[in-house]
Symmetry: C2
Subunit: 398 residues, 2 copies
């Protein structure tokens, strides 16, 4: 009987393998990307009929390009690319320089059109764009080190729905991280509310931001306090649970951006109230932080000002909310009366929103409002936001 069963299973395997092969074409056995001992990386693609193949990604030096938008000439930075060379078997290859520990993304350009790496199952989506990724964990404590699941205790990540009365009773979803030990204990934990940017959703900080691994690793090494991290969906007019909802919502930067912070300001008490009634949460502003990137940075800034006694810690990553009215002036004055314990601004030197951050810093300087400022290289990218989160979370609840 054993033999018969094996044959039947073999038939199943054949069907599956064939599906995969049909989809991937020949060259499926290639290893790509291959991380070499010196941390250079070799990319391989089988494409015998292609005329040109190159690899593009954030492991290559970014290049500046001129674009025209709304009548203005602007300079934008885009990922660099490198030509691959073809061998006699139709396999195109490129080997990078040795790379620092980091999470990198890339894709191929076959005859100028984007192609994913069929040898690498790992992809991530950023708004409407998918790219392959790989991580280099070069040495203990480098960037890549914080972004990987290590052999340490792990927190739990939940996709949690709640009803928002202030959004007309809408069903909304959030991602909630509870640190290792939460389930086994009775203690109460401080909470970081962490907001995504335009085009993002409640999955963004988990998938692109590696927030779960960063917190797991920092907490395991005693560098951050155990905390709950709440990642809501900050675009009130879009469905939650993208990809599973009834409509085939296709996110773009413009259809996933709320230009005003009004709705998230008005409805945010629903988020806090849900968390504080469903989780073991330490209350009071000393146990609450709010942070976000880009649009989420504007939201974090605005929320902390609108509710001046609620958040003891504020993190603005490549995004701040301007001081534009007498009401704004009154609100920030009220916020700094007792003063947040930390008012943290992080931005890249090449980021288009740096001027906004500079203006808010000047305003704070002029009024004696204390803040911390961190300026990195680079622009408006997840590479920077992961670093800002790694730095910011080490300063919380201590």
């Amino acid at each position: 009987m054993k033999k018969l069963i094996f044959s039947a299973l073999a038939a199943v395997s054949a069907a599956w393998a064939l599906n995969a092969q049909q989809a991937l074409g020949p060259g499926t056995g290639l290893i790509s990307p291959e991380i070499n001992p010196d941390h250079s990386v070799t990319f391989r693609l089988y494409s015998p009929k292609a005329i040109t193949v190159s690899v593009t990604g954030d492991f290559l030096p970014a290049k500046a390009v001129e674009v025209e938008m709304a009548g203005q000439k602007l300079t934008a930075m885009v990922d660099g690319s490198a030509e691959m060379t073809q061998d006699q078997n139709g396999v195109w290859t490129y080997t990078s320089a040795p790379l620092e520990g980091e999470l990198y993304s890339y894709s191929f350009l076959v005859n100028g059109q984007k192609a994913m790496d069929p040898s690498n199952v790992y992809f991530k989506r950023d708004v409407a764009t998918w790219v392959n990724y790989f991580t280099i964990s070069a040495s203990k404590g480098d960037k890549g080190y914080w972004y990987e699941v290590r052999d340490t205790p792990h927190g739990t990540v939940s996709k949690q729905w709640y009803t928002s009365p202030k959004l007309g009773g809408a069903l909304r979803r959030m991602t909630v991280y509870t640190p290792a030990g939460y389930e086994n204990g009775k203690g109460k934990y401080p909470v970081l509310y962490l907001l995504h940017g335009s085009g993002g959703d409640e999955d963004a900080w988990q998938d692109l931001g590696r927030a779960v691994q960063i917190l797991d690793n920092l907490i395991a090494e005693g560098k951050a306090e155990p905390m709950i991290v709440v990642m809501p969906n900050g675009v009130y007019f879009n469905n939650a649970a993208p990809g599973y909802a009834v409509n085939m919502f296709q996110p773009t930067l413009t259809n996933s951006r709320s230009s005003s912070t009004k709705e998230i300001e008005d409805s945010f008490p629903d988020v806090i109230s849900f968390i504080e009634s469903h989780y073991r949460v330490a209350k009071g502003s000393g146990n609450r932080a709010v942070a976000g990137l880009s649009m989420g940075g504007r939201q974090a800034c605005a929320l902390s000002r609108r509710y001046p006694d609620t958040f003891g810690y504020v993190g603005m990553f490549s995004g701040v909310s301007p001081i534009e009215s007498a009401e704004d002036e009154n609100n920030i004055a009220s916020q700094f009366k007792s003063g947040p314990k930390l008012y943290w601004i992080g931005v890249g030197s090449a980021d288009g929103v740096k001027a906004n951050c500079d203006r808010l810093r000047s305003y704070c300087d002029a009024h004696g409002y204390k803040y911390e400022y961190y300026e990195s290289d680079g622009g408006h990218t997840w590479r920077n936001w992961r670093v800002y989160l790694t730095l910011f979370t080490q300063k919380l609840f201590k």
Copy 2:
């Protein structure tokens, strides 16, 4: 100040839009797939230099192909394909026949090589293959209807780590679904342990099987009892949390299959013990079900036999464990002494493992062991497993 801020934000948008455009090439504004009012679907791809473009997917009739494997000639079913036609702007188009409500997957073949649809952000991974997907929810209660997030109460999904003493203290991860109302109540719930197949992991039933939406929708309509669903990682020698772990593990059918059920049998008490000590769980065999697909079906079958008093409900989807030894005979006799309330076998008429299922059924018939049998069209596919889950879960804990 407002105007300056707008310019700065515009610069950011330009940089992002450019990244997307560079990646996707022109033709980014296309709508694909477009679900037409008659539920036909139009696919579009901009590829002016391509010589041939076709679309392949499970919305087209499957076709039989001959393959040779391990010296045997076998017939395998693969997705059909259809040629697309190019217009003068370089856009290739194909419109399908009207389709039934279902979750469909597809990809393009450009000059014979796989290409994803740059107009559709939604992909799913099955082992090493990625495909785009779309859902048609034609009418209330059709297949597609169960697979989408509807406007009903939703359960919570958690990625939950635990330590398995019987696997040498390994850190393992499982996906846990708790039904709507769990957090707000004090009641205890029955548990379905739901196992994936070869090449899968703790994410498979959630991502490919739509287990969360199926349970949410069935429970909301009163067709299934509220239950906890536990989806562990059934390949003890592979890392959990694929894509986030330190190594770049690339799953295949062969490196993600345990040919023996011994390890999962030995270590499964760790899973049950973790769940029963960390969740509000109703105990006893009448409150425990185990089910799985393919390899997971074999595991569910073997687990129910090894622990004859533990599971009141057993579901085997395209996979059973054979009766090969006197020990197997004793175990199944012991299992059927008090008898599971439900011993459910589902398989497709074209599935290579149907012969195994037939043998187990004959054995049960000969010994008077009661079971339910459901035979569908088609083969060894997620389309069938989603249906089996939808049917099986309506029979549990009643």
